[in-house]
Amino acid sequence: MSTVDRRLRVGNATNGFAYEEPLVFERSRPGRVGFSLPACDVPESDPAAVLGAAALREDLEGLPELSEVDVIRHFTRLSTWNASVDLGLYPLGSCTMKYNPKINEKIARLPGFSAAHPMQPVALMQGFLQLAYELERQLAEISGMDRVTLQPAAGAQGELAGIMMIRAYHEQRGEKRLEVLIPDTAHGTNPASAALNGYRVIPVPSGEDGVLHPEEIAKRMTPGVAALMITNPSTLGLFEEHIAQIAEIVHAKGGLIYGDGANLNALLGITRPGDLGIDVMHFNLHKTFSTPHGGGGPGAGPVGVKNALAPYLPIPVVRRLGGQEGDGFTLDYDFPRSIGRLHANFGNVGMLVRAFAYIRSLGPDGLRRCAEMAVLNANYLLARLRGVYHVPYDRPVMHECVLSDRHLDGTGITTLDVAKRLIDYGYHPPTVYFPLIVHGALMIEPTESESLEGLDRFVDAMLAIAEEAREDPELVRTAPHHTRRSRLDETRAARQPVLRWQPEEPS
């Protein structure tokens, strides 16, 4: 063993303070426990006597035995293996990885929010009901919609709810419409949400310039089409400038427009989807309104609708009693045409509280400033990277820009390699290979949270990688080099799935 190897094997740190960490089950030692119970103040009861021995399990397979300090060290070490917004730029396109203000975390943990129960009497939850009532109206104002439901737990559940309302609307009018138009730039959840409602998906190509053209919609807009699902700005970061005309075409044939709100951050205070002809839309509170992404949720996906769709909103609906301030709030279930309930309770309330706090902190000027700075940052990145990276649709963008690896042709370096090499420079990679219509897409959304010098450093890294691709492609192809794991074998994971830990058989 070389001196270097020996140095690396000291303790369980692989490299200084970079800790290797086994699975929690491998840390387990018989008899350890990380919690305590008060003395029992009622008679103990024998589970076998109460429930019958046959009803009981013998052992708790799959659970480890650890002390509190074991558990804390385990998960603290795991945390150091993650990139995060608090560590640096996380320019994942269409995910709006903006900074999550700390005060919102503190407020969501107030016991009146964190320890209250959704089925307690409404008289005992007036604070929540007021917050929900006001947040619904704020989101309606921001989006130009008439009514909002806060129930969907994520954007995709919001899409599901929105399409359900569209279906209910058409059914109520006695119309049988079986198709939904979806542009080729749409998020994958859009077609899946339509299919879950029994709709057939008709794809619509975007034009040479990257935006949707009215004639393409007109061609496909038949009386059998229930809705067009549109993302504006699109996943190319482009404002759908023909949206009003497109809406007229769809509405004229009795269809509705669903707006995917994933990219709403670019529009705050600038324009409102409701004013552009959108009939139903969802919000991603974890994108536009800064609730943390949590390593993959929880998010929240409220849905806004125009009045024509209000009868179909999920129940319950928060109502102000007497319509006067100070009269209090209640929950209303009496909506016979409602699509029903989508969530066991009211949705991801903790996220609603954070979003409410965020809107309250920013006010009208701050919200508009978000959009301005987000769009400024994206255009600045585009301006500085243009030329070195290929720009498939070279026009002014909104909150994100899409590049491709075409200028690296001949180097053997692809988008995936660029993404992995960015990690060595300390950046979470952008969204890659999406939208699908751009070959080798790199979709970059800096958000308003980044400073000029932060953006410049990112640009420097991107430019350096382009240079490396030509001068030392192997370095790029084998990146990342400074992570605790190098590239992982995804094919093996899928071909020989190992989806849980199992103790090794004693040999």
Partner: protein, 434 residues
């Protein structure tokens, strides 16, 4: 920056937004509040919600008040976890990925099944997605849904199935509080039977019998769990013949938080993995042969299959999953069992007090875990109001859910319920004023 972009003003950034569509006024939302004002204002709103830290608490019905060790929030508050996103880039997401893999393993052990996904939104949508999954597997359209499944879950199942060719048939409750034998309800068109364990009334169902009834006609058994702590005591539904076990794991260290965010879970047999919705983490190796974890089997998902995906679920409940994994690691094999036994002891004590108190009764005779119905003489609302006067949130009035059993309250006694509070609750329900 404007110069680099080649424009003269911020306004010019929005040149592609037609002038007539621009908002010509400021948004009508309240003016910006300082952090100090925000705290004052939102603390005042929060103070207008009752909560289980300020009352003796016996309300469960799908959301359970349990003690949460401080270590859970200490880990969940690490911004390396909560300010990251879906672990698309495995090399810099091993923390999240490994925690999900550990969660999947724990859920497999608890449910007695072979594969678990990386969470669903909540118990209700997990139940709905389980029914859809059984329909995909069997290519059948009839769902036998027990009346004793949480009423909100039943509503959500109806909402999810509403747009598809599906038929829901109700399986009634027997007088003892369990689901009546399923014979006659399951047939060759039945995709699945959906049963809750323990059920909404707190009663423990006969999972093995339901599995046999389903299997006799080639249908799948979906077992829904809303009080996940019960899994620490009861035989795993997977070992009793359940094909899909799903539900709500809020009890594992996730705050009640007015009903969300909570933690839906779903597990099944390996044979059905291709039909399982949601994200999955798998073990693999890196280029140096070191163990690592990645998102896998993503061809089931909508970013590849689009309209043919198993589900549209994308963002799920990652941070809640982390909280539950920390919680289960702390309590572990021994602690979780002890906690479940403590819940049983509190509940058995409360039931004994109810039995011994004139004017109260136990309408159902089936065994229970930590929740049970109490029959009240007189008006349930009045009884709950008396309890509230004594500082007790006494449970759920069952009038909207089971009017046929007469005035009754669904009472849940977890480890947080003290003997004194149980005594006072029983007295208040029986008619005593504080």
């Amino acid at each position: 920056m404007l110069e680099a972009i080649g424009i003269g003003s911020l306004e010019a950034l929005f040149a592609n937004v037609p002038q007539k569509h621009r908002l010509q006024r400021a948004l009508a939302v309240p003016a910006a509040a300082s952090e100090q004002e925000l705290v004052t204002e939102l603390s005042a709103l929060a103070a207008r919600n009752a909560h289980h830290a300020g009352h003796d608490w016996f309300l469960g019905a799908g959301c359970y008040a349990h003690f949460i060790p401080s270590a859970v929030d200490a880990i969940a508050s690490r911004s390396e976890f909560y300010t990251s996103y879906t672990p698309y880039q495995a090399e810099i997401s091993q923390g999240t990925l490994q925690a999900i893999f550990e969660w999947q393993t724990m859920i497999c052990g608890l449910t007695g099944l072979e594969v678990s996904n990386a969470s669903m939104y909540d118990g209700a949508s997990a139940a709905a997605e389980a029914a859809l999954m059984a329909m995909r597997i069997t290519r059948r359209t009839k769902v036998v849904l027990a009346d004793s499944v949480h009423p909100h879950y039943r509503e959500v199942i109806q909402t999810y199935l509403g747009g598809l060719e599906a038929r829901i048939v109700a399986a009634p409750r027997s007088p003892d509080g369990r689901t009546a034998p399923l014979a006659g309800l399951v047939d060759a068109e039945t995709a699945c039977v959906v049963l809750q364990q323990p059920n909404f009334w707190g009663s423990i169902e006969d999972v093995a019998a339901a599995a046999a009834a389903a299997r006799a006609h080639g249908a799948k058994l979906v077992v829904v769990v809303s009080e996940a702590l019960s899994l620490a005591l009861l035989r795993p539904p997977g070992s009793l013949g359940a094909d899909i076990v799903c539900g709500e794991a809020q009890s594992f260290g996730v705050p009640i938080g007015i009903g969300g965010p909570h933690l839906g879970f779903m597990a099944t047999r390996m044979a059905f993995v291709r039909n399982l919705p949601g994200r999955l983490v798998g073990q693999t190796v890196d280029t140096e042969g070191r163990r690592g974890f990645v998102l896998t089997l993503s061809t089931r998902e909508q970013h590849i299959r689009r309209e043919r995906a198993t589900s549209n679920i994308c963002t799920n409940q990652g941070l809640c999953l982390l909280m539950a994994t920390v919680y289960l690691s702390l309590l572990g094999r021994v602690g979780l069992r002890k906690l479940a036994e403590r819940n049983l002891a509190k509940t058995e004590y409360a039931k004994a007090r109810v039995r011994a108190t004139p004017g109260l009764a136990l309408p159902f005779t089936a065994p229970t875990f930590n929740e049970f119905a109490v029959g009240i003489r007189g008006d349930a609302q009045a009884a709950l109001a008396r309890a509230l006067e004594a500082g007790i949130v006494g449970g759920l009035d069952l009038a909207p859910y089971a009017p046929e059993i007469g005035p009754a309250v669904l009472v849940c006694a977890t480890e947080l319920a003290t003997r004194d509070a149980i005594d006072r609750l029983v007295a208040a329900l029986a008619g005593a004023r504080p």
